[in-house]
């Protein structure tokens, strides 16, 4: 009898672990450093990239609504005992710490502390000097020149020069490069030739002197400044075995990073901790706190914060979570809106959904307030454009909020020619109006299905939900094209163009609009923020009216951290990396 049990149990255990993983990812935002990992597939969500983009400003970010700890004496002893160490929970760092080459966003969180980008962005999203003290953009917006700081050093004390920067950009154009950096999509002059192997260097990259480097593009792209202005790999260390077309050796170096960040890797204990130690060669001075540890924290993080095992964690901003955190007494609470947005992808190859009126009806007829705000207990906000409220490009001016209105939805459907048939389901040309919905298994999907089924059936639309066990399976079904509607959320966005990319690069098949394409290019053709703002406003209006996808929601999170930590701030675009060097632990 035991034998049988083992067989069934092992299957059950396997699968219920999946249940857990899904729930863990969504009810709690575990990855403290990288808020976007919540509700996202755990994979491929490189936070390193968060640090890369970003152009300009809007002051509306995070700082408001901070709750400070009411009673620090409640702080658990175990946390009090730590005097020179800060511990932050991180879902699952895997140990591959080379930027550009790593596959997991959690590793990206780690490498964002081990490396410093050439150009950082401030809390408002404006570019500020990192390793580069200044930069110039040519009048035609094609040539970018970066001026490095003097006496820059890698953490082992070796000097950092323009050659290292050139090396970094060059290998991203190698044909064997298998990471997801977008540098190779910037159309750097000579990049394609290098990739094809017909040139031995990228002609657009020019080292002018050891502290100056320039790069020339074939086509203007406003996001290039920060995309190129990212982390720098040491040529002496990462380049000694490099042959064009052969980057396999990089894997061997993934566990022993050599960077320029505020911290350097001390020890990686698989599945448990990433221990880091302050880097005395950091350009901005050695960080105040000697030790920093990312602790692997799968599943619930409550117990670790409550027992003082971690100093900092992130949670979904539900009322209950916030109340519970307040009751703890020893944590400060910082509200936060990640820079991504959620949407329902529509299959524009299906005739019914090609009709704008139907898409609008589907939006009016879906009670998004109930799904994303009420059922989420306030940890969300309804979205109507492809940009987050914290972005400088965000606007509500002239944007239709598509407030829930079943009557309006029915009207639009009638107008589109979909009339109720004998069984109450709307029909047109003998076709029934059916929405075949795909979602991945998580609590939010269950809520969505429950509400959407009720709403759409009230409109006379047949709603057929289907749920997939993981994100990968869902995407592959969507790629197969057999669906009408599917729930997604973007990765973290910095530049407004990031959120629009999916409408131009073929990710949404069937959406072709020359007017939109022209506006998209126009938005990237200039670096002037005010000009760009105007362009993006037009784009948002256009998309808000056309609705190639149904915009759904922005998530809301809170950070909770040990009240002893001083000088902590969280950048909406870079997470905790920018302020971390200044963190101190007050003694009491």
């Amino acid at each position: 009898m035991k034998k049988q049990r083992i067989v069934t149990l092992s299957t059950a255990i396997l699968a219920s672990a999946l249940l857990l993983s899904a729930c863990g990812n969504n009810t709690n935002d575990n990855g403290a450093g990288n808020p976007a990992n919540a509700g996202q597939p755990a994979a491929n969500n490189a936070a390193g990239d968060t640090a890369n983009n970003g152009t300009a400003a809007d002051p509306a970010a995070g700082a408001s609504g901070v709750v400070t700890a009411s009673d620090l004496s409640k702080l658990p002893d175990i946390a009090k005992k730590r005097t020179d160490t800060i511990i932050v929970g991180l879902t699952d760092p895997s140990g591959a710490f080379t930027p550009y080459f790593q596959q997991s966003g959690y590793d990206g969180n780690v490498s964002s502390l081990l490396y410093t980008p050439l150009v950082k962005v401030d809390d408002k999203g404006l570019p500020i000097p990192g390793l580069a003290e200044k930069w110039d953009v040519s009048a035609d917006n094609l040539t970018y020149t970066y001026h490095l700081r003097k006496d820059l050093k890698f953490s082992d004390g070796t000097p950092l020069t323009a050659d290292d920067v050139a090396f970094t950009w060059t290998i991203l154009h190698d044909k064997s490069y298998d990471g997801d950096s977008l540098v190779n999509t910037l159309n750097i002059k000579g990049g394609d030739a290098y990739k094809a192997g017909t040139a031995t260097s990228v002609s657009g990259i020019k080292v002018i002197d050891p502290q100056t480097i320039s790069v020339t593009l074939d086509k203007p792209n406003a996001s290039a400044l920060t995309l190129l202005g990212s982390d720098v790999l040491s040529k002496a260390y990462y380049g000694k075995d490099y042959k064009q077309g052969q980057l396999d050796y990089m894997k061997k170096l993934s566990g022993s990073p050599l960077g320029t960040g505020p911290y350097k890797l001390e020890k990686f204990i698989p599945g448990q901790e990433v221990r880091m130690i302050a880097n005395e060669n950091y350009y901005d001075g050695k960080p105040k706190t000697e030790h920093f540890i990312y602790k692997t924290a799968q599943g619930d993080t409550w117990q670790y914060l409550e027992t003082g095992e971690v100093d900092y964690a992130s949670f979904s901003a539900t009322k209950e979570n916030i109340d519970k955190l307040k009751a703890m007494g020893f944590v400060n609470i910082l509200p936060y809106t990640p820079s991504n947005y959620g949407y329902l992808q529509l299959n524009l190859k299906h005739p019914a959904l090609q009709d704008k009126l139907v898409r609008q009806a589907l939006t009016y007829g879906l009670d998004r307030q109930s799904i994303y705000v009420d059922a989420a207990q306030g940890a969300g906000q309804v979205a109507n454009i492809p940009s987050s409220p914290i972005s400088w490009s965000y606007t509500e001016d002239g944007i239709n909020p598509y407030k829930y209105d079943a009557e309006k939805a029915k009207e639009l459907l009638d107008q589109a020619g979909w009339k109720a048939g004998a069984d109450g389901i709307r029909e047109k040309d003998g076709q029934k109006l059916t929405i075949h919905y795909l979602g991945s298994k998580k609590p939010e999907t269950d809520i969505f299905i429950a509400v959407a089924k009720e709403d759409y059936e009230a409109l006379g639309i047949k709603f057929e939900p289907e749920v997939f066990a993981d994100f990968n399976a869902l995407v592959s079904k969507v790629e197969g094209g057999d669906y009408d509607m599917a729930s997604f959320s973007t990765s973290l966005l910095t530049d407004p163009s990031d959120g629009l990319l999916q409408f131009v690069d073929g990710e949404i098949p069937g959406y072709e609009d020359p007017a939109f394409k022209a506006l998209y290019d126009k938005g990237l053709a200039t670096s002037n923020i005010d000009e760009r703002k105007a362009v993006y406003k037009d784009i948002y209006k256009l998309l808000n009216d056309q609705l190639p996808v149904i915009f759904t929601s922005y998530k809301k999170s809170v950070y909770a951290y040990n009240g002893r930590i001083q000088n902590l701030s969280v950048s909406p675009f870079n997470g905790l990396a920018p302020s971390l060097p200044k963190w101190t632990l007050s003694q009491q």
Binding site: M1, K3, Q4, R5, I6, V7, T8, L9, S10, T11, A12, L14, A15, S16, L18, L19, L20, A22, C23, G24, T27, N28, D300, W302, Q303, T318, E320, N321, K324, S370, D374, A375, Q377, K441, P443, T445, D446, I447, I449, A450, V451, K453, E454, E464, P465, E466, V467, F468, A469, D470, A473, S476, K477, D482
Partner: protein
Amino acid sequence: MSTIHGETTAALSSPTPQPVKPVYTSLWRQSLRRLLKNKLAVFGFVVVAFMFAACFLGPLFSPYTDNKINMAFMNKAPGLKHWLGTDALGRDVLTRVLQAGRISLTVGLASMVLSVFVGSLLGVIAGYYRGIVDQVIMRLADLLLTIPSLPLLFILGALLSEWKVPTDYRMYIVMLMLSIVGWPGLARMVRGQMLSLREREYMQATVVLGLRDRRKLFNHLLPNLVPLLIVIATLNIGGAILYESVLSYFGLGVMAPTPTWGNMIDAANNMIDFQDHPWLWIPPGFSIFATVIAINIFGDGLRDVLDPKQKR
């Protein structure tokens, strides 16, 4: 060593198609009487019957429906209006628990019966005929045991989706396929038992007596297996009910918003719900617990009555 009792009660479960002789009927009655005397077993049966009745009839008397959303009544604690409180969408937990029981009970029992049937059938064949038949079945079992279930479920999910099987039926198809794939464990066990049984003295006696295969199998071997099968079957019922929620995770089980006990428990799988909303997981949890224990108690009683080796 083993007693002759096997001979007499053996006829009990004989499915032989010959006209039933009166003596069997009285044996059935006799067993039933003995079962009724076992108060615990009767209690178990009554509880199971009650669960069925409550789940299939209960929702008819509820003023709520299982899927009616009411955002104004989110996560309310049990009270006069909602006896067992409401969930995150303001749905009545009591109604949902009862509604859920319909599917959970059906699925639990059906999949239990099915998997025990398939597994024991192959085990009996392998153990009884031995030789090449045994080799083929058991080596096939070895192969199946090495197959990981995770990709298998994913592929099944994708196939059923591809073939546009209505989501309501998927669960039953999957349960069927899983018992087809999941037989090796049970089959090995039953085969082992068969190997040991056929070496017993009374089996050697049947050889001496020159009994036919069918008689040997149905009258002498199977009755001795029944107790083992009952224990396995009743032990597995809880697992089967919980397993349904695992399947729905793969898009293979019941589709939201339709509730099942497993789904309801899983929905409360986090610290906040665990601590602050116990009414979300206690009702389905207790329902599974009560069902499992009642069926096991009943199974124990049944086993005692049917076990040829038990004294009476």
